[in-house]
Amino acid sequence: MNISLILQMAADTEPERIGLVCEARRWSYGALLRAARGAALTVAKSTCSHVALLDESSEAAAIALFGAAMAGIPYVPLNYRLSNTDLTALLNRIAPAYVIGDDERIRQLSPKGSHVVRSRSVFVSEAEMAGDAAISAEEPEDGIAVQLFTSGTTAAPKAALLRHGNLVSYILGTVEFGSASPEEAALVSVPPYHIAGIAALLSSIYAMRRIVLLPAFEPEEWIALAAAERVSNAFLVPTMLSRIIARIDSSTTTDLRSLRFISYGGGRMPVELIERALALLPDTGFTNAYGLTETSSTIALLGPEEHRAAQASNDPNVRARLGSVGRPLPTVQIEIRDEDGKPLPPGERGEIYVRGEQVSGEYRERSALDSQGWFPTRDAGWMDADGYLFLSGRADDVIVRGGENISPGEIEDVLLSHPVIADAAAVAVPSTEWGEAVGIAVVPRPDQPLPSEDELRALIRDRLRSSRVPERIVVLEALPYNEMGKLLRREVRKLFQN
C-alpha cells in the first residue's frame, strides 16, 4: 500500500473538512489531494530521481510528501540549518533532484544546474493548477517513500530509507482511521526533515485531525497559536517543552485549556521537567514516545494514565516510570542484548534491538537488519520486570573503564541533582591506566558559586562508586546541542582530547 492512500481516504470521506492550516491558508483534504496529484504529475515529468524539500514546515511539505509518493519517487526533506558545505554534499547524493524551497540558496549551492528548483509558492501553485487535470493512477507500492539523512551526531549523515510498507504499517498499527472529532487539532512545530514531522502529517491525516503548522518554533507564538486554533494535541521535543513551561510559569494569561494531549520525544526528558509539566497542566494527558528515524517513528510509549499513575504513586518502581519511555507498541518486539547479541533479562543494561513491519533499518548503502529482521538501534537501555523500557544513552557513549561499562546517564543524573549544576555531560576520556576514564563537563547556574572539583568527585563517589568518579572536569557556559536538542557528545569529547 502506498502512503498516498492515507490522504486519498481522508479526502474520499470528507473532502471539504479542513485538514491543514498554515499561516493564513486553510486546506481541505480535497484541496490537498488535488495539489498532491498535481505535484505527482509535475515531478514525474521532471524525470528527477528524488523530490527534496529545503524549507520550513508549510503545506508544501505535505503536498511534496504525497505527490512524490504517487509518482513513486523518494521524498527527501533536507535540514536547512546545515552549513553550505554539508548541504552541497547531501544535494550531490540525491542528484538530479526536484528541489522545493529556498531556490536562491539551492542555485548558489549547485551552480551547474543539476537540479530542478522551485520556490515554495511556485511549487504549490503549479501543483494546484496541474491537479485538476490529474488522474488517479495506481501508484507503485513497495518503493521508497521517504529518505531521511540522519543527524550525524557521531559520524557523517546516513541516508535512512523508509518504504511505503514501513510507514503504512506504522500508521495502521497506531492510528484508527477518522478517529478524531472535527474539533481536534494537532500543533506541529517539529521541522519537516525530522521523522516526527513526517509521522505527524501521516498520523494526523489518517486520524482526520486538523494539522496546525508552526513553521519556526518560538514559545510565545506556540502558546498564541495553540490558543487561537484551540489546539487539542501537540508533539514537542523536551527542549521545546522546557521553554514553554518557563513561559507558562512566568505568565498568568496563558489559555491552554483546549490542549488535552501533549506527546514528547526525540531526546532525553529530565524527570524534573516532566514533573513540573504534569503539575502545571493537571488536565493535560502526556505521552512519552520513543522512536528512531529507522523505525518510522514511535516504537514504545508511556501513555497519559501511566504518567499520572507514576506521578501519584508511592511505590518507587512505579514512580520511576516517569523516567521510562513506556512499553513497546503491540506491533513491535523489543529486546535488550549484550555485546555478543545475547538477550538479557529484565534489569540488565544492553543495546536495544527492535523488530516489526514498521522497522526499516535500511540505509542507501546497506541494511542494518540481522538475518532475523532485528534492528540494532545503537541506543542503550534496560527493561524493568513489567516491560517498561528505560534509555541510558547511545551504545557508543558507554564509557569502558578497565573493562567495566559505565553509562553516562547515571553520572549525569547525580550531577544534575546538585542545586548549582544546570547541565552536565559525562564522556569517555583517554586514560593510560584504564583505557578510558570518566570526564565530565558541567554548566553552573548563572551567578552561582561553582562547587569545587573535590565536591563534585565526592558527590559521585557517595552516590555511585569510585569507578564513576571523574578523572577530568571542565566547566562550560553551555553544552553543545544540535537544533533538535540532541547533545553533541563528540564535541564534548573533543574538549578532553589534549
Partner: protein, 96 residues
Amino acid sequence: MKSGTKLKSTVCDTEVMVIRGTGLVVSCGGAPMVEERPAERGTPDPAFCSGTLIGKRYVDAIGSLEVLCVKPGKGSLSVQGVALQIKDAKPLPASD
C-alpha cells in the same frame, strides 16, 4: 493474493486492501472480489448487503485474514459464506 493487494467489489463501490491472509477468496455482496473491476456491475446477494465502512478492519473468525476497507460500499464482506467482522480497535494515545 498477498498483503498490500487491493481488491474491488464486483457489485458495489467497496475496495479493500489485504493486510494479512493468503489463498482465501474474499467476497463482497456475496460475489468474489477482484483486482480489476469488470465493466458490468453484478447484483449483490441480499444476505450480504449490510455495507462496508471506510477505515475499518475486517477479520475472519480465526484471525487468518485481515483486510482494510479503503472505499466503502453497500455490500458486506465474507469468506466462504461467513461474514467478516469488524476488528476491535485498541486505541493508542497519539504519539506524533
